[in-house]
């Protein structure tokens, strides 16, 4: 069977996904992805005419059922401290992270 997602493409995806995988994990996941892609390829054979629009939602959000947009009003968060308390590393209400790499754009 041909493999659409080659080890090179897979490495690129892993990088985009901000993951780091062991060789065994990579091989299992890549094989599963290729199997899934074979199932997905069933879609390619379906005749699609330009009059069939893409559906982002199943039901249409007509004006009658769409909720009105909320008023743009400032409100203090009542959860600020309990949200900040979740951070793995904090100092004086600042979240601590390691160095942020910088790249000079050409």
């Amino acid at each position: 069977m041909t493999e659409t997602i080659t080890p090179e493409i897979f490495e690129h995806l892993v990088n985009l996904a901000a993951l780091e995988l062991s060789p065994q994990e990579s091989e299992y996941l890549r094989q599963q992805l290729n199997n899934q892609l074979k199932a997905i390829n069933e879609l390619v054979a379906i005749p699609i005419t330009p009059d069939i629009p893409p559906a982002l939602h199943g039901i249409s959000y007509s004006a009658e059922i769409r909720p009105p947009i909320r008023e743009d009003k400032w409100m203090p968060s009542i959860y600020a401290d309990s949200i900040l308390d979740q951070a793995p590393q904090m100092e004086d209400r600042f979240i601590i992270v390691p160095d942020i790499p910088h790249e000079d754009l050409e």
Partner: protein, 527 residues
């Protein structure tokens, strides 16, 4: 029969009349959990632990439950209105945020996350006097159909046979409800994750119309597909809970701005004249052969087909018109389209987990922020989230999105059009509901499918079209297979037609009340 085995509506009456206290009811449920649940799912646990127990839970909240029950009893003693669910014990799938509880999504990456707020559907149930027993297990981030992908093991087992899966992803919800660990549970359905486990465990499960119930406080998977809904032991309780969960919510702009009908008052109306369809396209199953790479199609097992026909026969006796040979030609594209759409949405939703703001952070020494992201996510996510992120990245990449993502969204339109055609009141079929098997098979054995991500996904093939289309569905028990495992059948209806689906399912429940199979109880309760 213990107090925890009563229906919710029955318990509310008994508690309000002071025949029993809410505290007695919650103690009965907690005792049931102590008797049959065994070790709760935990990180680094194993499915070899206590194979005779059902392990529905990740977190049990006994003290909180007792406090809530005492509050209900105090309200009743003071002559105040204790709410429509006064003293009814329930569980919540651990994909919902509940204030001050661990809200893990079944993932190591959120194992230490304590939610600062409560999801709208749960808050509405608590406001009506529901008593939370705890948070129940699920597939990691809801990604699965057997509950085996949870990072918290042992994972739930089917109360009808503990060697079999309870289904998923709301597996803990279904096993808990079937075994009397609470009267109902709140699950979510993205491809069938309420209806499939409900069918496997012999309980009722409702996937409402997309937008009927707010998603605020739900840890997101597929934002255009996720639907919160109830699982319960009877249709009346499902209607009662759905009534309370539903309605507009200023915190969710996709929650429909529509009044909620009185589902309970609709239940006992006759079904005479309702048109219920049967489709040959729902009596076929498709599966993927990893060896040959081919897609095969064959008929569903006869026992599943017969359950649907027998149910149709009972509904016909009550005056429903059964319409056969209803074409649903795009049904079998539901899974391949879902492989694309749900992965793109999952990848997008899972980017927020980075080891910085909340959740798991690697303990390894890292050079910079990028390495922190990579190591935290690599250690925090299990194989299912990783697979879904990677596939989402691939099919939405600029060079492939026309071929995959946009194509899948157009096929979603075709699936939707199948339903619009059969529910059109001026069309050829003019159906009020479509009756189908909920699942291609009854509950499979633990370990049989887990690890094959393609075959596992095909377990949802009869449920996923409703998620693509946004329409409501309900699964309800309709008998047992020769192995003694429950069979579920499913009704699908037009947008916001929950009241009709509930009425048909309720009628079926009433007419089969005296049947032998209705008297069976899960063997795990024969302790």
């Amino acid at each position: 029969m213990d107090l925890c085995d009563y229906a919710a509506y029955h318990l509310v009456g008994m508690i309000r009349r002071k025949q029993v206290s809410a505290v007695e009811v919650v103690e009965s449920a907690l005792q049931r959990i102590a008797d049959i649940d065994g070790t709760s799912g935990h990180l680094d646990g194993s499915n070899a632990e206590e194979p005779g127990k059902i392990h529905s839970f990740i977190t049990i909240t006994p003290e909180y439950a007792r406090q809530q029950a005492q509050k209900v009893d105090r309200a009743i003693a003071a002559g105040e209105n204790p709410g429509l669910l006064a003293g009814v014990p329930f569980t919540v799938k651990d994909i919902y945020c509940v204030k001050d509880t661990l809200s893990t999504a079944g993932s190591r990456i959120l194992a230490n996350f304590v939610s600062p707020y409560t999801a709208t559907p749960v808050a509405r149930i608590e406001a009506q006097g529901g008593v939370l027993l705890g948070k129940v297990n699920l597939d990691e981030f809801t990604f699965g159909s057997s509950n085996e992908s949870s990072a918290f093991k042992p994972t739930p087992r089917n109360p009808w046979n503990t060697e079999h899966v309870p289904g998923g992803s709301s597996g803990g919800s279904a096993s808990a409800v079937a075994a009397g660990e609470g009267c109902f549970s709140i699950g979510t359905d993205t491809a069938g994750s309420i209806r499939q486990p409900a069918a496997f465990c012999g309980v009722v499960g409702v996937k409402p119309t997309y937008g009927r119930v707010s998603r605020y406080g739900l840890i997101a998977f597929g934002s255009s597909l996720d639907c919160p809904g109830p699982l319960s032991r009877n249709v009346y309780d499902a209607a009662l809970v759905l009534q309370i969960m539903s309605g507009r919510d200023p915190n969710d702009s996709t929650a429909a701005n529509l009044p909620v009908p009185d589902y309970l008052s609709e239940l006992e109306k006759p079904i005479r004249g309702l048109r219920i369809g049967l489709s040959p396209d729902y009596f076929k199953i498709t599966y993927f052969d990893a060896q040959s790479g081919d897609i095969h199609q064959e008929d569903v097992p006869e026992v599943m087909k017969q359950a649907v026909y027998k149910a149709a026969g009972r509904l016909a006796e009550m005056g429903a018109d059964i319409v056969e040979d209803v074409p649903m030609p795009h049904t079998h594209y539901g899974i391949p389209a879902y492989f694309v759409i749900s992965r793109v949405e999952a990848a997008s939703n899972l980017h927020r987990f980075d080891g910085v703001k909340y959740g798991y952070r690697t303990n390894q020494v890292v050079r910079d922020l990028h390495e922190l992201y990579r190591k935290s996510r690599a250690e925090g996510f299990g194989p299912q989230p990783k697979l879904r992120i990677l596939m989402g990245m691939y099919v939405s990449a600029a060079q492939y999105s026309e071929q995959y993502y946009l194509r899948a969204l157009r096929i979603r339109t075709l699936i939707r059009q199948d339903f619009e055609a059969i529910f059109d009141p001026f069309g050829k079929y003019r159906l009020h509901a479509l009756l189908t098997p909920t699942t291609p098979t009854t509950a499979f054995r633990m370990g049989d499918i887990y690890g094959d991500s393609v075959l596992m996904q095909y377990a949802d093939q009869l449920t996923v079209p409703a998620n693509h289309a946004g329409i409501p569905g309900i699964s309800f028990p309709a008998g047992f297979d020769p192995q003694g495992l429950p069979i579920g059948v499913q009704l699908l209806g037009n947008d916001f037609s929950e009241s009709i689906l509930l009425r048909i399912a309720y009628t079926y429940e009433m007419v089969t009340e005296g049947d032998e199979w209705r008297k069976r109880i899960p063997p795990i309760l024969a302790y």
